[in-house]
Amino acid sequence: MSASVAVILVLAVGTYAFRLVGPALHGRVELPARVQELLSAGAVVLLVALLATGALTEGGGFAGWARPAGVLVGAVLAWRRAPFAVVVLGAAVATAMLRAAGVA
């Protein structure tokens, strides 16, 4: 068995097991409303942490200025209630323009 096959198998089985945690518990354990609310809050907290680390870091270090600057443009657009498309494209275009101008 090659190394690639082993990696794919372990990663696929493990990841699917993580993904089954929710559906497996759902319906069997009656979760109180407060726990449900905490789960939704937990998902938002995880997503914010993901976007913060995704915007600012790369491989454990600083990602450079172009990416967080673009994300900031997107965040300002989202705060001003711009349409979703404008937020996403605004962030990508700002970062691409900064890179084209030589900002890493």
């Binding site: 699917y16 995880l46 942490a49 976007l51 962030a91």
Partner: protein
């Protein structure tokens, strides 16, 4: 026509329109994943099969990165699994959207990703959350895998995808999706800010995937506050 703005179809069309941007961006990232894997010396089937059965962008990138750097299969799988531990929490948060029926739950579980969960939770009611989960989830699965296949076949002919600024698009997608929840809930804002700071502070020191989990500690003051009310 103007008097019928809230039919399920117009709602779904809006979901498809918003999702399609995420699909487009993911498709291009998928292309770059396929291209990077093949350019690093892996056969075409490795990124293609991995994308179908693992289906988790960041874990795939790190696992292939570790493999190509000579880190060995154990380190590659462990890195990817650490990154994916968060999907357990996400699957709990969207568990009620995955039914009804065993088949739908088993299939839906495979579609749990950061973007799809964010899309679903951003919707105001259960019917729309369910529609958002399935529409964005199935579309993302199709586009991601098509992108990886195209990239693996094209190899290195694509150039540097960083020039398109797509790496900024993904955090911006998440900003747009979590902002409505953060706007109306001050304790949640504080919990998220605390969690993000913890994750950022831990990023240089801990293996990828762990810092984001640490962010859940931001919920502690949030839970206490709720219990006190």
């Amino acid at each position: 026509m103007r008097s019928l703005p809230r039919t399920p179809w117009t709602r779904n069309r809006r979901l498809i329109r918003d999702s399609s941007l995420v699909w487009l961006a993911s498709g291009v990232v998928g292309v770059s994943f396929g291209a990077i894997s093949v350019a690093g010396g892996l056969p075409v089937w490795v990124p293609v099969v991995m994308s179908l059965v693992v289906y988790a962008g960041s874990a795939q990138f790190s696992a292939v990165g570790v493999l190509l750097a000579g880190g060995g299969p154990f380190a590659a799988a462990a890195t990817g699994l650490l990154l994916n531990t968060r999907t357990a929490a996400f699957s709990l948060a969207v568990a009620d959207l995955l039914g009804p029926g065993r088949a739908a739950r088993l299939l839906g579980a495979h579609l749990v990703t950061d973007e799809t969960v964010a899309f679903a939770l951003a919707q105001p009611d259960p019917a729309r959350r369910r529609a958002a989960f399935w529409i964005s989830g199935l579309g993302l699965f199709a586009v991601w895998n098509a992108g990886v296949l195209a990239g693996a076949l094209a190899g290195t002919a694509l150039g540097d995808t960083a020039a398109y600024g797509l790496d900024a698009a993904f955090p911006a997608v998440l900003v747009a999706l979590v902002l409505p929840a953060l706007r109306k809930d001050a304790p949640l804002r504080r919990a998220a800010a605390l969690g993000a700071l913890l994750a950022l502070a831990a990023t240089p020191a801990l293996p990828a995937g762990v810092p984001v989990l640490l962010a859940l500690a931001g919920l502690i003051p949030y839970g206490r506050k709720e219990a006190a009310v």
